[in-house]
């Protein structure tokens, strides 16, 4: 029970820690486009 309590306290402590602003790391893929405007139709 004591282990459970101290584990819970630690979890709460970690959750309540202020989020370090703009320090997160990670990766992602950005798929991007621009100036599509009507895309030339293959007329013929």
């Amino acid at each position: 029970m004591n282990h459970f309590r101290s584990g819970l306290s630690l979890l709460l402590f970690l959750l309540l820690l202020p989020h370090p602003a703009r320090a997160a790391e990670g990766n992602f893929v950005l798929l991007y486009s621009n100036d599509v405007h009507g895309e030339t139709a293959p007329c013929g």
Binding site: R22, F28, V29, N34, G38, E39, T40, C43, G44
Partner: protein, 447 residues
């Protein structure tokens, strides 16, 4: 719109292949490329715009920036499009004229994997202001949105309809912006370029490419090449230097250079996990890329609608003579130039209008001017041309033949077209394999 179904296919495949979380954005200038729209083009351009929104809904875009060109159909039209969109239209500086409140969502906050990403839209200020709306200069709208996003997000992206000078100013003033997707640039692909501490990128115009940027964000804007690649490069340089030191006189300069390189390598070794890095590639919408069936169906539906609208306009113009009357059509030329005509009839130019009828696009004003003779500015006139001009005929290369037909000796036509004549239609966007000298020989005929 032809590239949309290919882009949809590429997006689907990339999402299947990529294990990293994905964010899909469009910088803007999505719907229109003219401002204001010519009256004859308004209905087909809006039909195209509706089709693009439907296609983008199917493609799973997250957000699109509002460019001033997206306003060419009017503010109410764009707001209707925004209602029909499953993605967000973003603009931090397009405000209601009455209460100066944003007309679109200024920014979007989205969880992308372990990162919280903020995306802001910025509408360009050039051109006539939209009715009922006002576009604020970036200095009056952008800083507040960035300040609001900074503590809430890990990475900030700006979708911006701005020129180079504004990029310099914004990146110098607002270092919290990590990446800018620029719209209305010079029409070419721009791989990520570091301006101050922000990356700037864009794709070429008319949706011919899709950009794919893999980002490894280490929490600070120290952008570099893949650290491992840089390290390898520096270690190779050190190897070369060691060889020189073994075989050449050991000058102080060489010794100094070795010391500098060794220090650089040590720093790179200790910092290699702290350098944010990226890899970018552009995927071309080549004809070999398959079409995604659902988006292809949308494109086909819109093409039919555009042709229907053009047919309607053509019926309204029935009886009205079409275009410039100094053009007489190929049959008039054939009377005196039968051999040349026979030769021309074997070229692709002669069948140019037929290709449109086969594709049921013979009333599409986007296509017609380059598939008929003698239409330049007044494109709507292409809907009411005589049969002899419904082809890329003699006069397309040699100029209008009306006066020449009346008095051939006195009114000579040009024998050989200048490159500019061909380049009106064989633009890089429409014919990326065009070579004037080579292709002139293919189209030419014996005199």
């Amino acid at each position: 719109m032809g590239g949309l179904s290919k882009k949809a296919y590429q997006l689907k495949e990339l999402r299947k292949e990529t294990s990293a979380p994905i964010l899909t954005l469009d910088g803007g200038a999505l719907l229109f490329d003219e401002m204001p729209l010519p009256p004859a083009q308004e209905a087909p351009a809006k039909a195209t715009a509706r089709g693009i929104v439907k296609a983008y809904n199917l493609m799973g875009y997250d957000a699109v920036g509002v460019s001033r060109y997206d306003l060419a159909g009017g503010l109410p039209f764009l707001r209707r499009m925004a209602k029909d969109s499953k993605f967000r239209w973003l603009s931090a500086n397009l405000m209601d004229q009455a209460d100066h409140k944003p007309l679109f969502l200024p920014r979007l906050i989205k969880k992308v994997g372990s990162l919280t990403v903020g995306v802001i839209g910025l509408t360009g200020t050039g051109g006539p202001p939209p009715a009922d709306g006002v576009i604020l200069p970036w200095r009056e709208a952008l800083p507040a949105v960035v300040t609001e996003l900074e503590p809430k997000t890990d990475f900030i992206i700006l979708l911006a309809d701005i020129d180079r000078q504004q990029i310099e100013e914004i990146t110098a003033t607002l270092p919290a912006i990590n990446l800018i997707i620029q719209t209305r640039g010079n029409g070419t692909n721009q791989p990520p370029e570091l301006v101050h501490q922000s990356l700037i990128c864009r794709t070429a115009k008319q949706g011919k490419y899709l950009g794919m940027l893999s980002l490894d964000w280490q929490g600070r804007p120290d952008w570099g090449r893949r650290p491992a690649a840089v390290l390898l490069d520096r270690k190779r340089a050190l190897d070369r230097l060691n060889w020189q030191l073994r075989h050449l006189p050991k000058t102080a300069a060489l010794q100094e250079e070795k010391k500098g390189l060794a220090e650089e390598i040590a720093t790179l070794e200790s910092d290699k996990d702290k350098i944010s890095s990226f890899q970018n590639r552009f995927l071309a919408m080549e004809s070999s890329v398959p079409d995604e069936p659902k988006v292809e169906a949308v494109v086909s539906e819109i093409r039919q609608e555009i042709n229907r609208l053009g047919r309607q306009a053509a019926q309204q113009r029935a009886g009205a003579a079409g275009g410039d009357h100094s053009y007489v059509g190929w049959q008039a030329c054939a009377r005196c130039h039968p051999l040349e005509t026979k030769n021309w009839q074997k070229t692709k130019h002669a069948g140019s209008y037929r290709t449109l009828t086969v594709k049921k696009q013979q009333f599409n004003l986007n296509c017609l001017p380059c598939h008929v003779t003698g239409i330049q500015k007044e494109t709507a006139a292409a809907l009411a041309l005589s049969e002899g001009r419904r082809t890329v005929g003699c006069e397309m290369c040699h100029g209008p033949g009306g006066k020449h037909a009346q008095a051939p000796k006195r009114n000579q036509v040009r024998r050989r077209p200048a490159a500019e004549v061909c380049l009106r239609c064989h633009t890089p966007e429409q014919d990326d394999d065009f070579d004037f000298q080579r292709d002139l020989k293919r189209a030419a005929h014996p005199e």
